[in-house]
Symmetry: C2
Subunit: 102 residues, 2 copies
DNA sequence: TCCCATACCTAGACTCTCTAGGTATGGGAC
DNA sequence: GTCCCATACCTAGAGAGTCTAGGTATGGGA
């Protein structure tokens, strides 16, 4: 996902807690079906974000089977804000380089 | 450069032929000094684009020392147009996912 | 009872870019 | 005249990030 996976996950979690599968569906939906995250990318990324303190997780027993529900933390929101600014700067830079071509 | 290196190089060459060093300077300038491509990334990428038929090159003896001047080809312009559309789709998708967060 | 959708996980491969080194030329400083 | 630096090009190997391909487990419907 071109280096923006953490941004997409944190951005999605910013709208409310969710478990892995739901997160994939949320990104798919909110991207207008343009982005399809892979499980093999999402789970390791979530574990990394948790290790970094950007998200927290808890096991939910409510629905059938095991589910691990992730929520964004305060530090995660700060990191998200930073990443959003970085993304804005990067996309503006690309637009600038493309200029007339875009 | 987050997987957009080819796009940036072709987009810059779309504005006119240039040699490697000038291309790096052009991207730096047009991006508002936000993007600093590395030589070690740019030269291999240009070679790959040439092998793919997207750019052509010639050695220029005019100025002091050797310079390899690159120009975008017809196939390169088609590829650039495709990449620009892809980039637009991707950035729109990211905006969609970020939603209120952005 | 079987199968499938849901849900989670990991190892290894792959792609892309960067780091760090190298070569070469011409011009200005001393 | 020689040294040094800016310009200019190049490559090997490392590193980061993501994907592929496999695995496990549960619950519900056929």
């Amino acid at each position: 996902m071109n280096g923006q996976l953490d941004l997409l996950l944190l951005g999605s979690l910013g709208a409310g807690e969710a478990h892995g599968y739901a997160l994939i569906a949320r990104v798919h939906e909110r991207s207008g079906a343009r982005l399809e995250l892979q499980e093999g990318s999402v789970y390791p990324a979530l574990h990394k974000l948790e290790a970094a303190g950007c998200v927290s997780s808890r096991w939910a027993d409510d629905a059938g089977g095991r589910r691990r529900v992730y929520a964004i933390t305060g530090a995660g929101r700060a990191e998200l804000a930073r990443m959003v600014e970085e993304w804005k700067g990067f996309s503006a830079a690309v637009r600038g380089v493309l200029g007339a071509a875009s």
